[in-house]
């Protein structure tokens, strides 16, 4: 390690670092500096003076309601996705189903978790929109008018149901290995000791799984929070969620303050960043049981 005196090793060290220089330059130029630029911009006013005013301005009703709807949609779709995804993963791992169902569902999940963006919005408009298949069938077969119940696809509920199309598969993909990690011996041991099915899940299964479950839910949350294409194609600019507000701000400074736009971006980074950090921490805890 005492390399400072030897010129030979010095040259080698330089070459070592040269090898990842292209990557470092790329990361700085297209990932780190642009992000830092926005983050720092959030703390300055138009005259270039340091200020917390932009952060304070986030707490106005319009922006707060945008964050609130975004958080609600992300939370609902991640919890719904987590719940249904958990039962699907449980069914294919522990439900005693034929193995082709398992491989079929996993393959489909790989596809569906990547099927997002604009086409996903189209699919749900064609299904649950005003002239969509389900809406029409409910009306013609059962005389039930979905839209008279107050249902609207272009709303909080509609967006949540749409987001779940990529949330559930993601949950299945991440949770299946975790469920595979539940050892048969644990179940047998608990049964020999007289535990019921419920006791097994409450005292063994869920305590082992909860870091995976909670961690993946956080990942799904961040995933939904940053998504824009689906929401934009589904609702246009009518639903006031943060990514759409930011999109409008980038396009035409609707907040009439460029630095407030930076603060809006900073808020998004903080929320997705926090949920990802927690996810990584919980994942490290979860992996202890999967070895």
């Amino acid at each position: 390690m005492s390399s400072a005196s030897s010129p030979l090793i010095d040259r080698r060290t330089i070459i070592d670092w040269l090898g990842i220089t292209p990557f470092l330059i790329f990361a700085l130029m297209f990932l780190i500096v642009p992000t830092l630029y926005l983050v720092s911009g959030a703390f300055f006013n138009a005259e270039g003076q340091f200020t917390f005013q932009n952060i304070a301005d986030l707490f106005t009703p319009t922006i707060m309601s945008a964050y609130w709807i975004s958080i609600k949609v992300s939370l609902a779709s991640s919890l719904g996705g987590a719940l249904i995804g958990f039962f699907l993963a449980w069914a294919i791992v522990l439900g005693g189903l034929p193995s082709w169902i398992r491989s079929g569902l996993l393959t489909f999940s790989g596809v569906a978790s990547n099927f997002a963006g604009v086409p996903l919005a189209f699919a749900f408009i064609a299904t649950l929109g005003r002239t969509g298949l389900v809406t029409v069938l409910l009306r013609d077969w059962f005389g039930f008018n979905l839209y008279s119940t107050g249902f609207n696809l272009l709303s909080f509920f509609g967006l949540t149901i749409t987001y779940m199309f990529f949330q559930i598969p993601l949950m299945v993909l991440i949770l299946t290995p975790a469920l595979d990690g539940l050892k048969k011996e644990w179940r047998e041991a608990s049964e020999i000791l007289g535990a019921s099915n419920w006791q097994y899940w409450r005292m063994i299964g869920l305590p082992i799984l909860w870091p995976s479950l909670l961690g993946t839910s956080l990942l799904l949350f961040a995933n939904a929070f940053g998504a824009i294409a689906t929401a934009y194609a589904l609702t246009g600019a009518s639903l006031n969620i943060v990514p759409i507000l930011l999109y409008a701000q980038i396009r035409g400074d609707v907040l009439h303050n460029p630095n407030l736009g930076y603060a809006l971006a900073l808020g998004m980074i903080v929320i997705t960043g926090l949920s990802n950090v927690l996810y990584i921490w919980l994942r490290m805890r979860a992996e202890r049981w999967q070895k």
């Binding site: 990932l31 199309f165 980038i250």
Partner: protein, 262 residues
């Protein structure tokens, strides 16, 4: 035990209903263009649209550049980190995961402010510059997937021994990289390439905010103005995603076969 099997089937039934109904609904809707009978008119209308051909071609080209330049960046980096700088591994992995943490719209917002025509590096000042910036943004978006698939493939080969063997035989570094390392991690490169393709082809945010005529903004435009074509496009997009994922499975299966060979 009977009970749990019932619930397992119930869960699968709920899942299939939720996933199958939107796809069936979309397909049915895409056939409705002609009154009173089903037809593939909407697909004909989509494929004959000049804008469809142009934007799809543009996105294909961008995807190709993203894959080529992304892999030229990722493979040497992953190789070098494994060979010479293992202490940098956590840092490099952290950086490659950052695009999952920072939303795409925030990243492109940064680009627009940092590289506008009045800045030191005016990427958005020219058409070529904007296209380069778009490819760079796509490389950023697909970095987590590319790095992961390449690094996984590299784990199965002994990078150090391969390099030493090549050096002893007198190979220079381009030969080592392109004739030893790339072919050996081909399964990883290909599966990374296909997932990149699936991400880039319909990407909306970057292309829309950089004002490039890509497939994603075109999809959005059709959705706002037409009735039946969007469903046909959704089915086409789903088929493309399915194809990409199918190719990944094929490649990884092929990769396993070649590895198990003695």
């Amino acid at each position: 035990m009977k009970m749990s099997k019932f619930f397992a089937w119930l869960a699968i039934a709920v899942g299939i209903t939720y996933f199958f109904v939107p796809l069936a609904g979309t397909f049915e809707f895409s056939l409705r263009m002609r009154r009173a009978e089903y037809s593939f008119d909407a697909y004909g209308s989509v494929f004959s649209d000049v804008q469809f051909q142009q934007t799809f071609g543009f996105s294909m080209l961008m995807a190709l550049f993203t894959i080529v330049f992304g892999m030229l960046l990722v493979v040497p980096t992953a190789y070098w980190v494994r060979l010479r700088l293992p202490q940098m591994r956590p840092f490099v992995e952290f950086v490659t995961l950052m695009p999952l943490v920072i939303p795409a719209i925030v990243i492109v917002f940064g680009y627009l402010r940092l590289y506008n025509s009045a800045s030191y590096i005016p990427f958005t000042g020219s058409l070529l510059g904007t296209n380069i910036l778009l490819v760079m943004s796509y490389i950023t978006l697909s970095l987590p997937y590319m790095y992961r698939s390449v690094d996984t493939a590299m784990r199965t080969i002994d990078v150090r021994t391969l390099t030493e063997a090549a050096e002893i035989l007198g190979a220079k570094w381009p030969t080592i990289l392109f004739k030893c390392i790339f072919p050996n991690v081909m399964s990883g490169v290909l599966s990374g390439a296909f997932i990149t393709f699936a991400i880039v082809i319909g990407e909306f945010t970057m292309a829309a905010l950089l004002n490039r005529p890509a497939f994603g903004p075109y999809l959005q435009l059709v959705g706002a103005n037409k009735a039946y074509e969007p469903s046909a496009l959704a089915i086409i997009a789903f088929a493309i995603t399915w194809l990409s994922m199918g190719l990944i499975q094929l490649v990884s299966r092929f990769g396993k076969l070649t590895q198990s060979r003695p």
